[in-house]
Amino acid sequence: MAKKELIQVKINGKDREAAAEPRLLLVHFIREQLGLTGTHVGCDTSNCGACTVLVNGKTVKSCTMFAVQVDGAEVMTVEGLPSNGALHPLQEGFKEEHALQCGFCTPGMLISSYALLQKNPKPTEEEIRWGISGNLCRCTGYVNIVKAVQFASNKLAQGGAK
């Protein structure tokens, strides 16, 4: 077994640390070492985006990064969606617009949508589709996911949470 490296990371606002072999993928570190199983392993070939998390505010595929790379960084997973005890407008939108069936792609979709709305609070339909183009869904055909993002965009514009 190769020498383990110490990883110190701020995850969903909390400082955590754990030791891991360099070859441990970030997605496995998040799920197994940190116990946050919202982030999913979908295709494992860097295609589907079910493993999408935020690293220093940017969306990345956590199956295509090593955990050691986030030493000193801030990571947000789906568990960290700001909520103040209630559902985040995106989560509410996914519920209201029936934007999930099996739910496997959903955490990745939520993170990508969150990042999209941070950068572009009032996206057009085309911009939403481009924004989630790194996330595949086998169930829904994407239509309701787009509607959910529009729901959230409207709700946030009305002065909801961030």
Binding site: A2, D44, S46, G49, K61, T64, M65, S133, G134
Partner: protein, 289 residues
């Protein structure tokens, strides 16, 4: 899929990184964006014994015009290239290309340097850099050297970089007035590699004659290709529909795509002709503005 074990090194400076490459020889690989390398390691197609993570080396990420060139730092992320105001204003071919590389998540990590240094004809920037007549700066133990892009791609996954060299900068000659470019890529779905793609960069003179022309082809052979016979047919001429068609045919004839999951060779060749036609047309439109 789990990569084989490796030693992880985290240099803070470029000289440190180069020294590590020198020390560990052939078995060491640079970790830049990792969006090509890590998938290969997960499939165990790449098994470096040492991974040198250069993501913490500062000063390698920039997009600026200087000394007659657009200079792009090797560690510049594709997302940064997409967002750059100078690229958006003056380099439509680069913007076209960056936009269709993989998907948003990959573009946040993937670097321009890595896209070239990986030596994969399926990557998108090689064709674009060929079309633009770019240069690549390699930094190694013996210092810096400049490599013309035409000399850079040697064979599949092999570039002109020595084992102890890092691709630190890409230089694109600033296009003169009446220049335009375009990248047309056909992919099965967003995020895929190109089934076929063509990059065109063109400069017209005051009378509308083609003064400078570069045509690069993605995934049309074991290395990124320049469609030289097509370029020769266009140079010095006033473009019209017949000439564009002729050049597109020549581009097709010069390509040697392999059959794979994305389609048979004949299909890909047909695509090359059509995409070259569209890229030429759009590039000329933009050059005429």
């Amino acid at each position: 899929m789990i990569p084989p074990a490796f030693e992880y090194l985290r240099p803070k400076t470029l000289p440190e990184a180069v020294a590590m490459l020198q020390q560990h020889g052939d078995d060491a690989k640079i970790l830049s964006g990792g969006q090509s390398l890590i998938p290969m390691m997960k499939l165990r197609l790449a098994r470096p014994s040492h991974l040198i993570d250069i993501n913490r080396v500062s000063g390698l990420s920039y997009v600026k015009e200087e000394g007659g060139f657009l200079k792009i730092g090797g560690l510049t992320r594709e997302a940064e290239l997409e967002a750059s105001s100078v690229v958006r204003a003056k380099y439509p071919l680069l913007l076209d290309t960056a936009t269709v590389i993989a998907d948003p998540q990959v573009r946040n990590m993937a670097t321009v340097g890595g896209n070239l240094a990986h030596g994969d004809p399926a990557n998108d920037h090689p064709a674009t850099m060929l079309a633009m007549g770019a240069q690549v700066v390699a930094t190694g133990a013996k210092g810096e050297r400049v490599i013309a892009i035409d000399d850079f791609f040697v064979s599949l996954f092999t570039t002109a970089l020595e084992h102890d060299e890092i691709l630190t900068e890409i230089r694109i000659p600033i296009p003169p007035a009446h220049s335009g470019g375009a990248y047309f890529k056909l992919e099965r779905k967003v995020g895929d590699f190109a089934t076929a793609a063509t990059a065109v960069q063109v400069t017209l003179d005051d009378k509308g004659t083609i003064q400078k022309i570069g045509i690069g082809l993605t995934n049309a052979g074991p290395t990124p290709l320049r469609a030289k016979s097509a370029e020769d047919a266009l140079r010095g001429k006033k473009p019209d529909a017949a000439l564009i068609n002729q050049a597109s045919q020549l581009a097709m004839d010069s390509a040697d795509p392999s059959a794979d999951l994305r389609g048979p060779a004949e299909y890909k060749k047909g695509l090359i002709k059509e995409l070259t036609k569209r890229a030429l047309t759009r590039a000329l439109e933009r050059a005429s503005k």
